[in-house]
Subunit: 452 residues, 2 copies
């Protein structure tokens, strides 16, 4: 069951409803039945030129939520496609943080015009939100929240929540502030309902609050919410005044966005590549990294070029080159992936030296096993213990050094204040390729060619 809407099935039903024989209202009936998240999924799957027509058919009361859920690449066209009269209503229905995000994607002249057309108070708050960096706590918070003074009783707080709560959509927590609007505690709706009516809010509230400043990076916000199992996190200014809150659904979005970013960076894909990117956009998103790969693999090729005469004399050594390079590269990527993921989930480790020692030890062991295997195979194939030794020892060193470098590089980048995920496979494999070629061709030149 799981109430999951299959977009392909909905599209088929939409097409059937749009057939000449069907009643003209059939499509609209179907659209009105759907959840905004499903409508957004359909819009994202449509071609850009079909999107506006579909969006216009969505009933006005579902449009704002649908708009907030579609991919940000579709926003400018959809806003442009809506009647001027409807823009006012649309932005009135949007949550303030979504409105700020959408306006930030529009040409600044269009955004300014829209801000002039909507309610002045809302307009001011949206403009304030737009000033924060998109990936900071301020950029993802909403200023819509429910707060009560600390000297109320639980019964009075419930009345206050009833008065203010109608204007605020989802909330599960009430913020408690002092006379100067400084956050002093939080009370869950559960605690408010369970409390004795005459008990003071200041007696039932939680005082030990996890909170962030608006400049905090969204990745750190997500980490705090995940670590402390929070439902939302308050945002306060330098003097502790309550500015806004970040809710659980935003956090899930942040976690997904940050993970995609890490994953894409590891593979050298530009993190803003959209789900429905055109071929030209795909080329633009991936070509830069491939050009870097071309340059860096050229470095590996330069190493090989130094040993042209060795290869001419011992052509069989070229057979081992890709094996050694692949093994060293994969060991390094394994170690880097684990290190990057650990940093993303847990932040800087308490004792980086220890885990590094373990990684190096593991690399030496794995390198030893693989080196022994490859050395025996190579020695038997070429019927030469010396070839076996050269090949096996190169393999051993290449894996041990590759794994150590793969584990250390992200920690080093993190120490330098850089994003560890940029230690992408491209850089790593360049390093391990050069290392592998140098080891196998160098040792072949020194120990085998000289003795021919």
């Amino acid at each position: 069951m799981s109430e999951h809407v299959d977009p392909q099935e909905v599209m088929a039903r939409l097409r059937a409803a749009a057939e000449p024989g069907a009643p003209p209202s059939a499509v609209d009936d179907l659209i009105a039945e759907l959840h905004p998240a499903d409508l957004a999924e359909i819009i994202d799957s449509l071609d850009p030129d079909e999107r506006v027509a579909f969006f216009r058919r969505i009933p006005a009361d579902l449009r704002a939520e649908t708009l907030a859920e579609v991919g940000e690449g579709a926003w400018p066209a959809l806003i442009e496609g809506v009647q001027d009269a409807d823009v006012h209503e649309l932005f009135g229905d949007l949550e303030l943080d979504d409105a700020a995000d959408i306006l930030a994607e529009l040409p600044s002249e269009d955004a300014r015009q829209i801000l002039e057309r909507i309610e002045p108070e809302e307009s001011r708050e949206i403009a304030a939100l737009m000033r924060y960096d998109e990936e900071s706590a301020g950029g993802v918070m909403t200023t819509e929240l429910v707060s009560v003074p600390e000297d109320l009783t639980a019964d009075e707080a419930i009345v206050a929540v009833r008065n203010r709560g109608r204007e605020v959509r989802d909330f599960y927590t009430v913020y408690v502030v002092d006379a100067r609007q400084r956050l002093v505690g939080i009370v869950g709706l559960r605690e408010l309902i369970l409390a004795e009516g005459r008990s003071r809010v200041s007696d039932i509230m939680e005082r030990d609050i996890v909170r962030v400043h608006p400049t905090e990076d969204q990745e750190q916000v997500a980490r705090l919410i995940a670590k402390y199992n929070l439902i939302s996190i308050p945002v306060v200014d330098e003097s502790g005044r309550l500015l806004g809150r970040i809710t659980h659904d935003d956090v899930i979005d942040i976690i997904e966005a940050e993970t995609t970013e890490d994953l894409f960076r590891l593979s050298g894909v530009h993190e803003e590549e959209e789900a429905h990117a055109s071929a030209a956009e795909i080329v633009r998103s991936r070509a830069p990294w491939l050009m870097i790969t071309l340059g860096t693999s050229g470095l590996g090729a330069l190493v090989v070029a130094q040993f042209e005469s060795t290869i001419q004399q011992l052509a069989f050594i070229a057979v081992f080159m890709p094996v050694v390079a692949a093994m060293a590269g994969n060991s390094a990527i394994q170690a880097t992936t684990v290190a990057v993921r650990r940093l993303a989930l847990a932040g800087r480790p308490a004792r980086p030296g220890r885990s590094l020692t373990r990684e190096i030890a593991a690399g030496v062991v794995i390198g030893g096993i693989v080196g022994l295997l490859l050395g025996v195979c190579g020695g038997l194939w070429q019927d030469s213990a010396r070839v076996g030794l050269v090949v096996g020892a190169s393999m051993w060193l290449a894996i041990a050094l590759g794994a150590s470098w793969g584990a250390a590089f992200p920690l080093l980048l993190d120490r330098l204040g850089l994003d560890p995920a940029v230690s992408s496979s491209v850089f790593l494999t360049t390093m391990t390729d050069m290392l592998s070629f140098l080891l196998i061709l160098g040792s072949a030149t020194y120990f085998l060619v000289r003795l021919l």
Copy 2:
């Protein structure tokens, strides 16, 4: 500020408090101040033999929450280290889903003994939860929830919530059931507080509920919660009876676990590798994939071995081998990463053929550009237009085919019901290596050697 506890700083303070001169209670005072999530982080960072002693110092009322947060690898030792008398209290304090998870990690005889020692009702519910697959909705749900009959008024519902709610920890939603315990609606605590006291629960509840069966995969649960911005999701049996609920903090854990799994699989790391794995555990977790890499890179080497005489005659061609292989491999990994991530976030795309066409088109264009560059360089270096053509055309084809294969493989695996993330870089680069060597060495043999 951000109230973030730095484990390194806490460890330093703990060490200072444990110095001979300090008052003996200083460490305990510091421990009692910390959040269970921070205590868990400290335990995870300790050596296995230090963990039990630290866990025993934690006050009884913080132990259950701390235990739920530590890495699952530490559970058996910590449970073993606790006095028998304390186990009863510990499991009484644990949420039922956490208790079931922890018992599942213990030797079955130990788990049985603990189940016999705790309250019979709780014991039955925990045993029932343990029957579900660990990665299914049933495996992550808790049976602690608040439900009310549909014929109550809002005021009566609040009284019911007060009576039942004290035993249930975090909840933000009340489930509405009919006389046969079938789920008919949900009411948020916000809606309950805002409602007219005499209005019926059945009039204010949301009837259009996203719900799952206990056998549903946890990844699908996480996807539904993320898509529909839910705070929790109810779990129902075949006849619609309410069995439990999955809450937002579990969902964040699921998303993190599933992402780690995808990322690790892409790199060939066993997904259960713990943050504090020993060197031997690292070897066990990574060696299997490296052995597969050894086998598969051996396939690439076999291709090279077929062309030994070509390499002997044209040693310079070995310089281009790693460049062509690296470019084809990276193009494939880029395309695969994007495809795997899309499948993870959005499920099967509505029109897979379209995105595949775009990927292939992009591969042909990028391949053309890179091939042209490499062909010109190669032609100039060897002073031969023919060499330039051979190198450039091989590069073009290798990238175009590599990118197409990288984009298609995850979709194919998904169609076959397999996890697309197993299309790991290991398999992909084997394919692209073999392809690259065959293209460059084959064309060199056919177009260059024959004409020497």
